[in-house]
């Protein structure tokens, strides 16, 4: 059945076309990042049901507070920044567990490490996909949660902005913990223990920015600090996460 006719000939031609040392047209780092990102996005959309879970969790947690505290909007407005950010943090943690898990199980993470491409860039691509699938939707849902907690509509752009920027930092910080706890069964609690202390600066600045958005104050300062954290995260977190992935492959 496998007649080594045309198909094999095509392959041998490809092999002979180079200088015989096995160097075929390499993919650049950007191509690799783009492909890794697209792959993760495609995979996520094939399991659309799972995409909704962190968002549903976020909505549910937000809903707990009026029931547990008080239905008075004036009181809720005061705690709204905290509620939104804690809920976003917890929802993010839920999704982080699966950042590397599937790839570690089916051997594709190993192939990433052996691809000859920078694992740091590939990890960055995966984290970016994670943010697009979790952080960004959370940022878009946050205004709804804020409205239900009594926030004025003028505050909504500021809320979306602060949660969007903050969730970038959260995804990056979380990727480190996710990589460190690879291969551990039921690592959810440990992942939270590792990620939450490191996420506290994001929580502090983000909640402050959201609070100023709701009260109508100048939120540029905490927003800039949040942005600084996100930039710092982009430069350092993928390095640490890639190193942690390599440790898990040993």
């Amino acid at each position: 059945m496998s007649t080594p006719g045309a198909p094999a000939a095509a392959l041998t031609r490809a092999a002979a076309a180079d200088d015989g040392a096995g160097s075929t047209p390499a993919a650049g780092a950007l191509d690799a990042v783009r492909l890794a990102l697209l792959r993760d996005l495609k995979l996520a959309f094939r399991k659309r049901g799972q995409l909704v879970q962190p968002l549903a969790f976020f909505a549910l947690v937000t809903m707990l507070f009026p029931l547990a505290v008080s239905p008075e909007l004036s009181r809720l407005r005061e705690i709204a920044p905290g509620v939104i950010w804690v809920a976003a943090l917890l929802a993010s943690l839920l999704a982080l567990e699966f950042l590397f898990r599937d790839d570690a199980y089916d051997g594709t993470l190993e192939q990433y490490a052996l691809s000859g491409q920078s694992l740091t860039w590939l990890v960055f691509a995966k984290t970016a996909a994670h943010w697009l699938l979790t952080g960004l939707p959370l940022a878009l849902m946050a205004p709804l949660a804020a409205l239900s907690l009594g926030a004025p509509s003028a505050s909504l752009p500021g809320i979306v902005g602060s949660v969007a920027v903050g969730s970038v930092a959260l995804s990056l910080i979380g990727s480190i913990g996710a990589a460190l706890t690879l291969g551990m069964k039921r690592s959810g609690a440990l992942l939270s223990l590792l990620t939450l202390p490191l996420s506290l600066p994001v929580l502090i600045f983000g909640a402050r920015a959201t609070q100023l958005a709701i009260s109508g104050g100048p939120l540029l300062a905490p927003l800039e600090l949040l942005g600084a954290l996100a930039v710092l995260g982009v430069t350092l977190a993928p390095l640490a996460a890639a190193a942690a992935v390599r440790v898990s492959l040993e």
Partner: protein
């Protein structure tokens, strides 16, 4: 440019308290094929993964083209194809999509090449179904298609004939034979001998 040559010097590896690799030492040149045999738990997989530089040995080193692979790891990996026990495939992608991403991240690959490789392994009829719906043998064939597409000098294979029928095993044999005739190197961990299409095979036996 230096010849493709893999030299392994005095590898010692501990996994926990077990002294798994005790002074593994060999050299393999162009067109060379090495069979690594041994019972379960003798360290075949550990050896292969150490050769890939996934594991850092306590002692010894691996040289590719005369240089320590640790010096220029990305370049070494670019010249290497590794197939582990399980085919590295995403269950929710089709065989074709899997190959497109797996190979595409490493090198530009045209759609025609994907078609050719899939046809070679007998997968033209099922290559667009999700991998989750494929049998173990079919998944192994997809992995072999990836191997054929990678076109790299060094192949490190962990039990490449697992889950394959006779015809599939012959496919492995012919792929390896072609790789060797191109001047490539193949190291394979096996439970039984490689198919007869592969000639001039050296053996390395590991004991637990």
């Amino acid at each position: 440019m230096l010849d493709e040559r893999l030299e392994v010097e005095n590898l010692h590896l501990w996994r926990g308290e077990r002294h798994v690799l005790r002074g593994v030492h060999f050299a393999l040149g162009r067109g060379g094929c090495l069979e690594v045999t041994g019972p379960n738990g003798s360290g075949k997989t550990s050896l292969l993964r150490t050769l890939c530089a996934l594991i850092y040995p306590e002692e010894g080193r691996v040289l590719w083209k005369g240089e320590n692979v640790r010096r220029e790891l990305p370049a070494f990996h670019a010249a290497l194809a590794y197939l582990g026990h399980e085919p590295p495939l995403k269950a929710d992608l089709s065989a074709r999509e899997n190959l497109r991403y797996w190979i595409g991240i490493r090198r530009r690959v045209a759609a025609a090449e994907l078609d050719a490789a899939l046809e070679r392994v007998g997968g033209s009829s099922w290559c667009d179904r999700l991998v989750r719906t494929l049998s173990a043998g079919q998944r192994r064939r997809v992995a072999l298609a990836g191997l054929a597409l990678l076109v790299v000098p060094l192949w490190i294979l962990d039990e490449p004939t697992t889950n394959l029928d006779t015809e599939g095993q012959q496919l492995v044999g012919s792929l390896i034979a072609e790789q060797l005739s191109r001047g490539g190197l193949v190291i394979a961990a096996v439970h039984q001998s490689l198919p007869p299409a592969v000639r001039d095979v050296r053996r390395l036996e590991l004991s637990p």
